[in-house]
Symmetry: C3
Subunit: 452 residues, 3 copies
């Protein structure tokens, strides 16, 4: 690489309009902190360096940047001031420097690449990403003449002709690494707010005889996030990208608008997904899987041909082998289901290993918690666990064993044994009438008491 | 208040296109009868009087107006006739009279206020709310010259020039209380349908030398509701308002379009809400609460830091204290969960008091109903209730007690006691094979019988 | 009928962009294979014949056409070649022949009828359905002069004037049955792809002195389906039609966009449906039913006045009588609920008959499967089944009987009897402290072991 790129991510903004204790750039999108999207898009450029600029004391933000270094902008004195804070971390870097924003996660790698490429081709000291705004009112305008970016005019300072310009400033810039220190150093704060504006580098570069250019990108990529409503809009935009990519790869979604994916969700072809399915982080789904309506899946692998849901919840640490069925109102947590195993109705399997072809009856609970520790339930292959059973962990049920319905299993069951953990039925004839009379009287008495 | 307002709500329409036994204005929006939205928006004006005009026999509608009085429009002879029915109830009222519609619940207080203010300022006898219609075809047009509303032309009666007008009649009016009786009294029914049209008052007022004006409001507020499809559109519009307000106040919604709020839902800041959460009436949520996907919450308070769902249902009369966890496939009904208590999996807690830090195991049922009465279960602090237990109310479990998994508890458990209500496990070795053979034979026999 | 219609459905396309092992025309929309929608719309014309053209070896597609015959297009040589394959099956047919596409299921019967009617009126040998495209770039243009369709120009062959035409070719045609053999026979393959294009018949007919016409339909009907994303768009369009029809018939939907209907769903008036309800195939709902949020219903009848959900799942073969209540986290499978019966909380009723007014307690399981056969549970009228009970089928519970909470019922319960199938409670005072100590120690030991 002749001219490796450096990326500076500005992430020191206060985000007061979020009305949140959580720093703005850590608010999640597609279950990943906003700034990690910015980093992922930057990483795809294979840059030589990435450096974050953060606010004083923002340890959580620094942690989100790891393994990349961060520098602290000591006071909130504008974007130019923030970029300057990164100069130390850029020492010795002579290639292009991209300045991007931690709260603008929709800018794609492809758009960044086009900016860098154009700057190299045009030998520009400064390149700015712009967009044609449907309503440019809130944005600075890019004044371009004969391929050269002459200046950026703030909306409030624009004259009538400039106000008619729709080509708007995204804020994203590419600066020549050999010039960046002198360009940023020359930014002044002679303005009402006494702040240092990064946009000033355009004029500074041109005054020094360097070239500035503007490169157009799609408006949809440049939405910054300053409020919960904008966060929701960005979430929607990201979800649309993730859904479209999945469908292109051969996934059927009955109603794509109601499938929520995580940035790292991986789904193979010929998977069908019903309405209202949420994928938390860390999910992989093999081909020919049916995921029915109303499922919530997180941190799990789903094997080929499995049938999931409706109303299934699969939690982190679960591995669902091929041809497994997980039915309604069933929860798996850190549970392995062997090939062809079934848990079709109202069950909680926590910290369990269920063997191949084993059938878990309706209402079964793998009792993994005793108030102090969590324990595993191990069910071997070809076991039949009757409905409404409780398997009190740690406990093992051997191959081919049968647990009768309604049993509480507290001791290991050997292979091929039958376990009973329930009382024999006793039927008392003619007693329902008197029982009804008694219960009725009790209810009536309670009613009288209430009235008093 | 010099000039207190009166509000007349026209709610006597038949609503046949709703195809419903329920009167149109009682169809709910955001879980509140349509007409109650109209009343709430009127109430915010602090009017001296509110009076409803209803159809004969519409007792339910009258009840929805309470505590405000209603008068009956004896026959459906048009809006002018309906407004006249309210004259008796307006006796002695000299201030402005707003005439609004029970089936147009989206008109905001702010827009009504602007109409009243403009009428006062302009000393107008009649003020009409209008809107610039994207497609004015179905509406009467407001003919305005030099700030004066000259007349309202019905669409079918409009000439070519008038048809080009997009400023359209919403129907909402403000009339001078001193003139209202004479204005309404002068409306005739010399038309094809032999009906009395309220819009005629514009011409009547002007003929008598009074001034009429039109005030513009946003088109979105003036959608009337005549069909289920329009009801759904109004619901969406109201939901958008409620969601936007919540986000502005610092609530994160992964997908706002799938959060359904009630008119009275109150949610604090830094609450995160996953996709597909429905709030029925009467819900208050404190800050730092996480409500995961697929929850249904109604008539409940949720304390600070609680984690709810996914797939949780909380029903009226429930109080969930700080730091409580309510997990998947759990239902609470009229149940209090003490601080830090947990019910994480497949449980029904009906009419129960659960103490602080107590843990309710998976599959636990608080058995509140015996076929005749409902009874309470009282679980003290620091209790551990094992999985698949049944607590048969009325019953009490004392502080620090332990109910073993699978127990049926029918008698009170003292503090620090351990309760067993289950059979001991009996394991019969080698019996699963013969059992399988027996069950297989039974199934085969049944199959043979079916074929015959 | 003087001139009965024949319909040729072209369904031999490969559909590679679907990335699917399933033939494209079998991908479902509203829970019905795509091509069945095309057939249903054709059937409403009461045609004399319907014939499908399929790819070699496409047995599943042929089965989807049943009872209509199919012919095989031996090689994929274009739409003209495909239509020719149907000629044998059209022998002796002198009426109009509609040529439609198996992957364009949104074309309505009404639009097809308009095409046929116009062709008859105009005595046209060829009629083509066209639409005014918002963006005509991808489509062939219909060149119409004085009511006559002169030719169809492919987008890439269009000159500047033709490119400005927005009237676009849908592909759907109506051909005169007496001329179809000679028209199709005259199509050549003198083009780059060496394919036979059906569109050539326009020129061929006109050269032979016959008339060709174009009839306009709405663009929305002509979306073909070539990818999963287009499949999702078509699904949405169909759902919108189904939802609108239901609302017009008097159904209230809180949020229609989150109600998924099947092509055959039937819902009576004054039914209210909350957000997020999925109707699989074969559902009928009587009037005055409330279906709350988050329900999944398939293959079931719901009687008048029933209350369903939230979070209910009703599976095929279920019959829910009037006034039944099915509550949260309840699954019915092939189960009949008698009038006024209730199963309100966390229950699985599989292969069960529940009598009128019977109450099924929370957590009850009708244990229908023993690993080999499925068996029925029969509960008579007025039975009270206590919570967390297991009814092990085959088993019968007689009228008025009472099954106590937590019971495992393995033997029939006579009418009016009380059945106990649970252990008596044993309470051990002061034992919780030592138990806690023991469990705490066990957890600590396990933690130490892990660290090693």
């Amino acid at each position: 690489m002749k001219s490796p790129i450096a990326v500076v991510v500005l992430a020191a903004g206060a985000g007061t309009r979020m009305k949140s204790a959580l720093p703005k750039v850590l608010h999640p999108l597609a279950n990943r902190p906003m700034v990690r999207h910015v980093l992922a898009n930057a990483e795809a450029l294979k840059p030589a360096r990435i450096v974050g600029v953060i606010a004083p004391g923002a340890k959580d933000v620094a942690a989100a940047f790891a393994p990349y270094p961060t520098v602290v902008q000591t006071k909130p004195l504008g974007t130019g001031h923030a970029a300057k804070a990164a100069l130390g971390a850029l020492k010795g870097h002579a290639g292009p420097v991209l300045v991007v924003f931690g709260d603008a996660p929709l800018v794609t790698t492809e758009t960044l690449k086009r900016l860098v490429t154009a700057c190299a081709r045009e030998k520009a000291a400064v390149g700015v990403l712009g967009f044609v705004a449907e309503d440019p009112t809130p944005y600075g305008r890019l004044v371009v003449q004969r391929g050269v970016l002459e200046r950026i005019v703030e909306s409030k300072d624009a004259n009538e002709i400039e106000r008619a310009i729709t080509f708007s400033n995204s804020g994203v810039m590419c600066l020549d690494g050999r010039l960046i220190a002198s360009l940023l150093g020359a930014i002044g704060n002679d303005n009402v707010k006494r702040e240092f504006y990064l946009t000033d580098v355009v004029g500074i570069a041109r005054a020094a005889g360097h070239k500035a250019i503007a490169v157009e990108g799609p408006e949809t990529e440049f939405q910054g996030i300053n409020s919960r409503a904008e966060l929701a809009m960005a979430e929607r935009a990201l979800q649309q990208r993730l859904r479209a990519a999945a469908m292109t790869a051969g996934v059927t979604m009955t109603d794509p608008d109601t499938v929520w994916l995580s940035a790292d969700t991986r789904i193979a072809n010929d998977v069908t997904i019903g309405p209202n399915v949420r994928f938390g982080p860390g999910v992989t789904v093999a081909s020919d899987v049916q995921i029915k309506a109303f499922c919530d899946i997180e941190g799990a692998r789903i094997g080929r041909g499995a049938i999931i849901g409706p109303f299934a919840r699969i939690r982190p640490g679960s591995e669902v082998a091929d041809d497994v069925h997980i039915g309604n109102f069933v929860e798996l947590k850190a549970t392995k289901m062997g090939k062809g195993a079934k848990a079709n109705h109202l069950a909680y399997l926590g910290d369990a290993d269920i063997g191949a072809r084993s059938n878990i009856g309706a209402g079964t609970i793998a009792v993994n918690y005793d108030g102090f520790g969590k324990w595993r339930t191990v069910v071997a292959d070809d076991v039949f666990v009757g409905s409404n059973s409780s398997l009190v962990a740690p406990v093992k049920v051997g191959k081919g064993a049968n647990v009768t319905a309604g049993s509480v299993v507290t001791e290991d069951v050997p292979a091929d044994a039958v376990a009973f953990g329930r009382a024999r039925q006793v039927t008392k004839k003619g007693r329902a009438g008197p029982l009804r009379a008694k219960l009725k009287a009790r209810a009536a008495a309670a009613k009288r008491t209430k009235k008093k």
